[in-house]
């Protein structure tokens, strides 16, 4: 089994050894960065929308978005209004952060502008001659980090009024899911979800992983991967730790639920460097297995 996993990992990384092309452009007033494979496979490509964290920006997770593209996705990342890098002009600390201490007060109006950005982005790309013939909109995935995770989860149905049709799966990276969790709206998720968290990210991880938290409230299929000794930024350029496992689990999830490839073993196997892996899907239920005394 271990050998099979190693081979599987090698294949994932071979796929990423190719290059991705990065281009930044304006769509109306919104800055967007796109990544596409340098040597695209024939046919249209599945699409990923990446939503950055509060005061992050479109390229904040370049290593990840680039790797998604080399794995065969068209990846688009808007600069939301609160972006503070790569051209984003909002001061990185402005005090609005206080509202994060009161998730029970958040409503569908809170950061609605981020959801609107994603809608405008998709509408704009439909008409954009650079991408319209290359994008397969029937295979659309949402990826978000921190407040971008909030945005992606909201668009996947955690805020019913935000629900975006056509989404195949959501990859939520250290998501700020507190408002959905305390208001118990995650039952509205209509697509597979993978939560990824850092063991040392105490502002986020307990809310996602705890009994009755975001993971448990989410409908199946769902996955939870917790990376050992990781903080809030392992998915971003700000962290120089080797996080190949992050990419491996991300692609295992996206390739299965967005691309439609057969499930690979990683989705139910805990790699070294992973503190916790939970899943409840057509592939099994780790919690039930643990209750029965099985070990993975």
């Amino acid at each position: 089994m271990r050998l099979r996993l190693l081979i599987l990992l090698s294949c994932l990384f071979c796929a990423c050894a190719a290059q991705a092309r990065e281009q930044t452009f304006k769509l109306g007033s919104m800055q967007v960065t796109a990544w596409s494979p340098d040597q695209p496979p024939p046919g249209k490509l599945p699409v990923l929308i990446f939503s950055h964290g509060l005061h992050g920006c479109d390229v904040q997770s370049r290593a990840l978005t680039q790797a998604f593209a080399t794995a065969g996705y068209l990846v688009f990342a808007p600069n939301h209004r609160d972006a503070s890098c790569n051209g984003g002009t909002t001061p990185w600390f402005e005090g609005t952060e206080l509202m994060f201490l009161h998730p029970e007060q958040w409503t569908e109006a809170t950061y609605r502008n981020r959801a609107d950005d994603v809608r405008r982005l998709i509408a704009g790309l439909y008409d954009d001659e650079r991408f319209r013939d290359r994008a397969d909109w029937s295979r659309l995935g949402l990826v978000g980090h921190s407040l971008g995770g909030y945005t992606a989860l909201g668009l996947a149905g955690a805020w019913p009024a935000w629900k975006l049709p056509g989404v195949k799966a959501v990859l939520a990276l250290a998501p700020y899911s507190h408002p959905f969790t305390v208001q118990r709206t995650l039952g509205g998720l209509g697509v597979p979800v993978m939560y990824q968290c850092g063991e040392n990210d105490f502002a986020i991880t307990p809310i996602v992983a705890q009994a009755g938290g975001s993971y448990e409230q989410s409908p199946q299929p769902k996955y939870y991967v917790e990376f050992a000794a990781a903080g809030h930024l392992i998915w971003t350029n700000s962290d120089d730790t080797d996080r190949r496992a992050v990419l491996a689990y991300s692609l295992a999830f996206l390739n299965h639920y967005v691309k439609g490839e057969p499930a690979n073993a990683l989705l139910t196997q805990r790699l070294s460097g992973v503190a916790q892996l939970r899943f409840a899907s057509e592939l099994g239920n780790s919690d039930a297995a643990a209750a029965n005394g099985e070990s993975r």
Partner: protein, 159 residues
């Protein structure tokens, strides 16, 4: 080093001289109701800047003493806290310079943005989340509930 000096020149007085701000002998280095949230952050930053003085990780000992009881539940005991900071938030240790944003306060909660130049010369941003405690033995003391790192667009990572 050149980057840090340039930054100092650019920011001028906005760069808080942390050592000068916190070196007064009368300033307690443990939770105290007389310390306001900004002072609590400055004491911790000063300790982090000289983490290994007078002994290894002495600075983290000071920082841990200002961790709120709720924070300690997740991060303690001290040995675990020290290992966690080294593993995950090493940029805070022995940094070169720090710039504090305007403190934001509402009732018994406060946020302090900190932008620092780490020992390798790279900029890193953190938000200190503080609250005024209501229960003994820390009633009335401002303590840290968490320190949140903020992303930037500098490429330090490869996959």
């Amino acid at each position: 080093m050149r980057f840090a000096r340039t930054l100092q020149l650019l920011l001028g007085a906005a760069l808080l001289p942390l050592a000068a701000a916190t070196s007064a002998a009368a300033t307690p280095r443990h939770p105290d109701p007389r310390l306001d949230p900004a002072a609590v952050v400055r004491i911790q930053l000063e300790a982090l800047a000289h983490n290994d003085k007078p002994s290894a990780d002495a600075g983290l000992g000071v920082v841990f003493s200002f961790a709120s009881p709720g924070n300690r539940e997740h991060t303690g005991p001290l040995e675990h806290f020290v290992a966690m900071i080294h593993a995950t938030y090493g940029q805070l240790l022995n940094y070169r310079s720090a710039h504090l944003s305007k403190l934001v306060m509402q009732d018994d909660q406060a946020l302090q943005g900190v932008e620092l130049v780490d020992r390798k010369g790279q900029t890193a941003r953190f938000v200190f989340v503080l609250s005024r405690q209501t229960e003994p033995p820390y009633a009335g003391c401002w303590m840290t509930d968490g320190v949140l790192p903020q992303p930037d667009d500098a490429d330090k990572q490869e996959m």
